[in-house]
């Protein structure tokens, strides 16, 4: 395990930036988001969660696949690919877990080559959560916020003045090696301090208001839950905006569109939202004509359909919808309404 003094981090950013596109949680006025680091950027490692999840990096909101151009009677096509390798620093354990959920979808057969390339070109550095907030409920999905999450190439812990650093994957080890002039070995004292901080997390988690969320307590199969009366009531306040789906680290529905210029254009993939009236619009019309059906689709996907396919819920308890939904129609309320709550810890 390595460490670096936090006042040295600017040097670290500079060094990484020489060889990679570096994404960090950067504040722009009040909103903190993962953005490309530039000298003087306002890096905020204390912000527990960014407004947008880092899925935007591995699965961009808009991603051009190919460009096309008419050349006489022929159509010239050119595939666009990501050119630079990149590093994302400060990914929280819940967001790291969300990457695995996206991998299940895009890296299963048939493999999505664009997504695969995005994943291969990236190096993920996690940052443990030592102060979970009231909207956090990652423990409902067996995520340990203090941990070194599976899927992170490097795991880090912020101990105030120090950042502890542990390489996990081969890629992470080589990367750490290349930064060896900035990183030093940890002392026994540092390890002890980390163990103490980690041990304190359990109490903090048990103190959180959403600690009783337990999706596994939801009873009934697909058909019963689909036909449940709770949807008649739950959807009513939904405004039909797409915020929950766009800030969600696990929502992954997309649309393919062409931008058609004069004799040339681009084909791109862009996020779509099941909250929108034109979602899955087909020649015959839209299969979900009311907001009730759309709301049900979103939560059935997260709590029933996805688990049926991949044996895992499509939620990581990051709390973004809990914090942001304009009418507080968040997944916690849906899980509870469906009976997903435990009385005892």
């Amino acid at each position: 395990m390595k460490k670096i003094a936090k006042d040295q981090l600017a040097l670290l950013w500079e060094k990484i930036d020489q060889n990679y596109q570096l994404f960090l949680p950067i504040a722009k006025e009040k909103a903190v988001n993962f953005s490309t680091w530039k000298e003087g950027a306002e890096v905020d490692l204390d912000a527990l969660r960014t407004v947008n999840s880092p899925k935007n990096i591995i699965f961009p909101q808009t991603e051009t696949y190919l460009t096309f151009k008419k050349e006489g009677k022929k159509l010239g096509l050119e595939v666009v690919s990501r050119d630079e390798e990149y590093v994302v620093f400060g990914v929280r354990p819940c967001d790291v877990a969300s990457f695995k959920l996206l991998d299940n979808v895009f890296l299963g057969e048939p493999v999505d080559k664009f997504y695969e390339e995005n994943r291969q070109k990236g190096l993920i550095i996690s940052q443990a959560c030592l102060n979970p907030e009231e909207t956090c409920f990652c423990n409902a999905f067996a995520i340990n916020p203090e941990s070194a999450p599976v899927g992170a190439d490097v795991a880090t812990w912020d101990l105030g003045d120090l950042l502890l650093w542990e390489a996990q994957s081969e890629k992470g080890k080589a990367f750490t090696e290349a930064l060896s002039d900035l990183l030093e070995d940890v002392s026994e004292d540092d390890r002890k301090k980390l163990d103490e901080v980690k041990a304190g997390i359990k109490d903090k988690l048990e103190d959180l208001p959403l600690v009783h969320v337990a999706p596994e307590k939801i009873e009934g199969g697909l058909k019963e839950i689909f036909a449940s009366e709770v949807w008649d009531e739950l959807y009513q306040r939904c405004l039909g905006c797409g915020m929950c789906t766009y800030v969600c680290p696990t929502c992954h529905c997309y649309d393919l569109k062409d931008y058609n210029g004069n004799g040339c254009g681009e084909r791109f993939r862009c996020w779509d939202s099941c909250m929108f009236s034109d979602f899955t619009m087909m020649a015959h019309g839209n299969p979900r004509t009311t907001q009730k059906e759309r709301v049900r689709q979103r939560f059935m996907h997260k709590l029933v359909y996805y688990p049926n396919n991949y044996e895992s819920y499509a939620c990581v308890g990051c709390g973004r919808c809990t914090e942001r939904c304009p009418v507080r129609l968040d997944i916690v309320k849906v899980i509870k309404k469906l009976g997903g709550e435990r009385n005892e810890l």
Binding site: K28, A31, V51, T62, E134, T135, Q236, Y246, Y259, P326
Partner: protein, 331 residues
């Protein structure tokens, strides 16, 4: 507010049991301290979960769009700003007045959870109680008292209409209408932008709009955005694509702002719900300021029987096509 809450519950129960209304639109409380949200009550026994506290920020008038059009008889609770919204929707012919019973609630102001978090008052917070001009934050470790204006939404500090301007029944006593901040200051941020050069101003809005995710929360929460089908949602028209593209983000926001000119009640809901903190209120207030300058002081939603400035024509109206006249490039 605790006393008023009991009164509201009683009114709701009576309205439902007496079949005065089919549905009551009010608020309910979720598991977190700031978590008050719109709720639809159809049975008397459900009313026990109805709440009224300093987090009932949501404007319920917006829901009347669907509910009254479905020919249901609706009872709705409105705060001051919600009442302006109600009137504006009336003026836009989007509500069937006969189908609605309006219960007016004088509003002391609503708490901005972000301001509470900024003060770190949220750790272990279980409840917030109102006591005159002060708020008591009840935490696991004790109580902390804070002057209310320190944590109210900015829009509440500028609010001139805390008492509903329309109602069938008013609940509780009216509150003082003096604003905590000078109301004309609403426009000081607009003036700061007006003082910039065109290039600087473009750079400012370019940077703001580039944060937009196009989730459309600003549009969907807006009481003036009451079209049955928004033109941006019409896939066949292809007016707005789904790509995150600066030009399209700008296009969306400018069209949205212009479509609500003279109808925006300045409730600030668009800014509140924006996940990326785009200051949409500045855009709206610029247009309100221009309407005031060109057509005289006007507050949308104050009186549904008057005509909005942009839907009437008078000979003495500003003429931006004549040099020297008010408006446009003539000034």
């Amino acid at each position: 507010m605790e006393k008023i809450k009991e009164e509201i519950r009683q009114i709701a129960r009576e309205a439902l049991t007496g079949k005065k209304v089919d549905i009551i639109l009010a608020w309910e409380k979720g598991p977190l301290w700031y978590d008050s949200y719109p709720a639809f009550f159809t049975k008397e026994e459900e009313v026990d979960s109805l709440t009224w506290d300093s987090f009932c920020i949501n404007n319920l008038s917006k829901y009347l769009l669907e509910e009254t059009m479905a020919d249901k008889k609706v009872g709705v609770f409105v705060k001051g700003c919600d009442a302006l919204a109600f009137n504006q929707m009336m003026q836009d012919n989007r509500i069937r007045r006969d189908n609605v019973v309006v219960y007016g609630l004088p509003c002391p102001g609503m708490i901005d959870p972000d301001k509470v978090r900024a003060k770190r008052l949220n750790r272990g917070l279980t409840e917030v109680k109102q006591s005159g001009d002060e708020l008591i934050f009840v935490t696991k470790d004790g109580e902390i008292t804070v002057p209310a204006h320190e944590v109210y939404y900015d829009k509440c500090l500028y609010c001139h209409y805390p008492n509903p301007v329309v109602y069938d029944q008013l609940i509780g006593e009216k509150v003082a209408a003096e604003t905590a901040l000078d109301r004309s200051e609403r426009f000081s941020q607009v003036e700061a932008l007006e003082a910039l050069s065109a290039e600087e101003r473009f750079a400012y809005w370019d940077s703001q709009f580039s944060k937009c995710m196009r989730c459309f929360a600003c549009r969907n929460v807006c009481p003036a955005c009451s079209c049955e089908r928004c033109t941006f949602d019409d896939d066949d028209l292809d007016i707005l694509g789904k790509a995150r593209e600066d030009s399209e983000d700008q296009f969306f926001h400018l069209i949205r702002a212009y479509h609500v000119v003279g109808r925006c009640i300045d409730c600030g809901e668009c800014s509140r719900v924006c996940p990326q903190d785009i200051p949409l209120e500045k855009l709206n207030r610029k247009l309100i300021k221009d309407i005031n300058a060109l057509y005289g002081e006007y507050q949308a939603g104050l009186d549904p029987s008057t005509k909005a400035p942009l839907v009437t024509y008078q000979l003495e109206d500003a003429d931006s096509f004549t040099a020297g006249e008010k408006g446009g490039k003539g000034t």
